[in-house]
Symmetry: C2
Subunit: 286 residues, 2 copies
């Protein structure tokens, strides 16, 4: 699995680096590229490619969508890190965008990445491009990622019930892990029942991923994570372990990973990679 | 002309007010609606409808695009007004978004409006929806509006040459007045030469519009404008009058309006409304 993941990752990395952004002012382009090309697992971009390949689609024509979801993810991190939001100075071991370029430029760089994601998708002549873009827009939108982020910000410091915490994680994390899977399947021309199976996979993977992330913040290795740990807890962040305890959180992550893997049954052997990818998420906290 | 403009404006206003934003957290929805429904001329939305009707298209199916361009415009104003950008407290006579909802929520409200614009366009089943969305994305993007805004911010306080100022206004203003015209024509199924004519119209209208706006900041009536005047000059903002003088600026606005009107020749009598709309822009400073 690792080989294939690295291969997808390299494809995404190269495509991101090669985005022309023609006509963008140098400073804007630099600030956008600073965050876009600062590493990361490229999980969302890889999911587009893996889902597309699983359903027999063409990887090259799916690449703009892999880039788009990474741009949407990068924009959300830049705006999240701003002083008016999480006020983070460090991301993946590097100073955050506003520390390097100033707040005004960081806001514009985020806006630029979000808009460019849509521009890149809209430039595609793939016959299913429009529907794939629709999935991305909904996932990034006010009932998707932005819903989760808003609740995360407005409820910080409170102790919301499990249902609310779950709802936040659906928006904040699961939406932008689901859309790349469904978009990849749509681009491959997969049938509706398979797209639906992919949606379930992405959803459970996303919830598990957020729980694991919360667990890592509590017990991970700071050197490996490239950020300050224990910060969530110190700042009264809403996390699943804070809500149900560490042991239950670990069990819940396992359950969601099993559900994610099971959802892939309709794909049979072709789903081997995405199944293994789901289980590898758990190994980060085992 | 006024009657027709009011009719378009009311259609846009009602459609914006009726946007469901289902699933958005109440606070996010409220902050988005606060800026989106705070008045304004709805010029961009009206341009979509007028261009669509001029080419014989269906107004109802163009409405989502009229809403989208108004959402993109509203997002750009919210982010522009932030302390890290223009630091404005007043917009159309009302406190700006971050004054009411705080900086974090204002950033999210802007992000929400931008993303929702794409979500609304992507939900359209109009056969030319994808191409119309493509026009909007490019206009809002890093070689369109965001290019102008970046240069505006980074060059503030300097005295750039005419070419640079013109380039800033192309991005900052003309791009988002051109896209609604071309999108409206695309949705009406207009032929390529007519779309190109509309592009020229929108471009010159946009440049003239920005010059008139700069002139109004210098000599307009504060009560009518709903904002502090003379602010551009005091803050070293880059304006066309500051670059070429008031008299030349007035002449240039007139020239661009004439070019805009001339560009509509291929539409014959059907262009009466958009021609009159262009000339009415000038009357604001005469």
């Amino acid at each position: 699995m690792e080989n294939k993941l690295n291969c997808y990752k390299q494809m995404v990395e190269r495509a991101l680096d090669a985005l022309p952004m023609t006509g963008a002012p140098d400073m804007l382009k630099e600030a956008m590229r600073y965050s876009l090309l600062s590493g990361g697992k490229r999980l969302r971009g890889c999911l587009v490619l893996a889902a597309c390949e699983m359903a027999g689609g063409d990887l090259q024509s799916a690449l703009p969508f892999a880039c788009a979801v990474e741009m949407i993810h990068a924009y959300s991190l830049i705006h999240d890190d701003l002083p008016a939001m999480d006020n983070d100075c460090l991301r993946r071991g590097k100073p955050t965008n506003h520390i390097v370029y100033g707040e005004g430029m960081a806001i514009l760089a985020g806006d630029g990445l979000l808009t460019h994601a849509f521009e890149v998708m809209a430039a595609s002549d793939h016959p299913h491009a429009f529907r794939a873009l629709r999935e991305m827009a909904a996932a990034a939108g006010v009932r998707g990622m932005l819903s989760g982020q808003t609740l995360d910000v407005t409820l910080e410091g409170t102790s919301p019930d499990r249902e609310t915490v779950h709802h936040i994680h659906e928006g904040k994390t699961a939406a932008l892990l689901t859309a790349p899977v469904t978009a990849g399947l749509i681009l491959a021309g997969a049938e509706e029942n398979l797209i639906q199976a992919g949606r379930e996979y992405g959803y459970h993977l996303g919830i598990a991923f957020q729980i694991v992330d919360d667990l890592l913040d509590l017990e991970g290795d700071p050197a490996l994570m490239g950020k300050t740990l224990g910060k969530d807890q110190a700042e009264g962040k809403i996390t699943w372990p804070a809500c149900v305890g560490m042991d239950q959180a670990r069990k819940d992550a396992e359950m969601h990973i099993r559900l994610a893997a099971d959802a892939l049954d309709p794909f049979g052997k072709e789903a081997e990679f995405l199944r293994a990818l789901a289980f590898s998420t758990l190994h980060r906290v085992q």
